[in-house]
């Protein structure tokens, strides 16, 4: 097993008395790409939070680099926190509203112990261009950006930490289609360079060519696990069929 494999066996996540994820298995190596789809309330975001240790009520097994993390002390999570980055669904809540974009991204470098980037660093500007943002935005604060721009700042921040695995929670849903495709192309490219990708989405149309496997989650359980083309061509479970049928098509 590679040093940076995220391996989950029988993961159960409880929020208070409610079980939001039940008995989930998942293995994500560098270069893998898996999508988690499902209706709202299925537990998709809770799964991602659990994978980075933000849900206290987890049981089962969660290993990163071979080390068991369920029940382990906080220090044991550090390698995972450094190498697995979560890009949040709601960037306004995830980004400090008063820091300029450059400082937000630099902070991710600081926290992961990487060489710092000052506001004019060419690497910073190159990263902003990669997420289809104008480098001139580096001096602005998230509050003055549009929702789509904030989402891309959140992605840039996650990527600035040079993760082995990226957990992306609905990162394209606030974006207009041309920009969404630009980010999907970027994720495909990063995956080619060895990034492991777990993306939560509800948009099946973005998946072919981007991920290999799709997990369909409904009420906290995996109801279908198929290669993406199979899922689109012949969805088995009623929830998968509903997701497939709900994709808006051009007239």
């Amino acid at each position: 097993m590679s040093r940076e494999t995220l391996s989950v066996r029988g993961l159960t996540v409880a929020l208070g008395t409610r079980t939001v994820i039940r008995d989930l298995d998942l293995e994500l190596r560098r270069g893998d790409a898996i999508a988690v789809v499902g209706p709202s309330g299925a537990g998709k975001s809770a799964l991602l939070r659990a994978l980075v240790g933000l849900e206290p009520g987890i049981s089962g097994s969660l290993r990163f680099g071979g080390r068991e993390l369920v029940g382990a002390p906080t220090e044991a999570w550090r390698p995972l926190r450094r190498r697995v980055q979560l890009c949040w669904q709601d960037p306004l809540a995830a980004l400090h509203p008063q820091l300029p974009v450059a400082a937000l991204i630099d902070e991710a470098r600081l926290l992961t112990g990487l060489p710092r980037w000052h506001a004019e660093a060419p690497e910073l500007h190159a990263l902003l261009r990669r997420v289809a943002l104008d480098p001139a935005l580096a001096r602005r604060s998230p509050g003055s950006l549009s929702g789509g721009q904030r989402q891309r700042v959140a992605l840039a921040r996650a990527l600035a930490a040079e993760p082995a695995i990226l957990l992306a929670d609905e990162i394209t849903s606030a974006l207009d289609r041309p920009v969404a495709w630009a980010l999907i192309d970027l994720l495909r490219e990063l995956r080619g360079d060895g990034l492991g990708l777990l993306m939560v989405t509800h948009d099946l149309s973005l998946l072919p060519g981007t991920v290999d496997q799709v997990l369909v989650l409904a009420a906290g359980e995996v109801v279908e696990r198929s290669p993406v083309r199979e899922l689109i061509a012949a969805p088995q479970h009623p929830v998968s069929r509903a997701l497939r049928a709900a994709v808006p098509r051009l007239p």
Binding site: P39, Q89, Q149, A174, H202, P208, R229
Partner: protein
């Protein structure tokens, strides 16, 4: 301070939360309270139907920089799609119509409602009086616009009372927007994104607005909830003769709901007309990019389906 005691305190609270989160109001009851008598809507929208809802010459400038210019919207044949890339000014246009333009900006333009009432958009008191029964916003992210410390039922009941709506009940509104009645007992933090979005729609419907402004209401939802929300919007707006402006960047989704569309780019209308025509023959580069991106998603589906069969 006990927020649950009356709508007045509650709306002050919500206002302060929203001001901080750069969010706008859905249906803050205090706004209807400051309404001037001449711009109040009376009873159950007994409109004359020969008029159309129109926005004429909407413009917005901040520090002498023009953010929006000469935007005309006319609601004919049902919901109107307002399309454009991010940063095109779609949300800003809605905020200007609601009288919630950024501080220190100057707004121009006029709003004409079906019953013939006109409001100059720079007259904030008049526009504030229209919010609620005249205009309602369904925001992109409903979460922050719900009162976090009160149950869904109390929030719905309050709006029904404030807007003197005796035709609907909290339960019937939830059924209409397609969620289970048990959500009445929940607090906003106990709702998923899709549920919160539909509760926000129920709140908007409780006001019986003449014009509903939906700001990408479905972009945070899964495709199933998205399709359901769009269908709910179509049915409930038609049933209540509420006009709808649907802001989106998803052409395929717009096509599910709207017949006509206006495409914005950098604060100007670049193309307008029937949506089917825009999709078949986009003239402006911005429209072409939107159509190309939608086609790319569509082509993948066609490809998968054809290689299988």
């Amino acid at each position: 301070m006990a927020f649950a005691q009356g709508w007045h305190e509650c709306s002050i609270f919500v206002t302060s939360v929203w001001a901080r989160r750069d969010q706008t109001f859905v249906t803050a009851p205090s706004q209807t309270r400051v309404a001037q008598p001449e711009c109040r809507f009376t009873g159950a929208l007994c409109c004359t139907y020969h008029r159309r809802v129109q926005v004429l010459g909407l413009g917005c400038a901040l520090n002498s920089r023009s953010l929006l210019a000469d935007i005309d919207l006319e609601l004919v044949d049902g919901p109107l799609a307002l399309l454009g890339p991010s940063g095109a000014g779609k949300s800003l246009a809605l905020r200007c119509m609601l009288g919630l333009a950024p501080p220190r900006s100057t707004v121009r333009g006029e709003l004409v409602l079906k019953d013939g009432r006109r409001a100059r958009l720079d007259d904030l008191r008049t526009v504030a009086g229209l919010r609620g029964r005249g205009l309602c916003l369904l925001p992109q992210d409903a979460g922050p616009s719900l009162d976090p410390v009160r149950r869904v039922e109390a929030q719905l009941r309050e709006l029904l009372r404030v807007h003197d709506n005796r035709d609907d009940s909290p339960a019937s509104l939830l059924v209409q927007v397609g969620v289970v009645e048990e959500l009445l007992r929940r607090y906003p933090h106990q709702l998923s994104g899709g549920q919160a979005q539909r509760v926000a729609l129920a709140l908007a419907l409780a006001c019986r607005p003449a014009l509903l402004l939906a700001d990408e209401p479905s972009s945070a939802l899964d495709t199933i909830a998205q399709a359901q929300l769009v269908d709910t919007l179509r049915v409930s707006c038609a049933a209540r003769s509420t006009e709808l402006v649907f802001v989106t960047h998803d052409l395929a989704l717009a096509a599910r709901l709207c017949v006509r569309a206006v495409v914005l780019d950098v604060g100007r209308v670049v193309e307008a007309g029937p949506l089917a025509g825009l999709i078949a023959a986009p003239a402006h580069p911005v429209t072409q990019a939107l159509v190309a991106a939608a086609r790319r998603a569509d082509a993948l589906f066609v490809d998968v389906l054809e290689t299988r069969s």
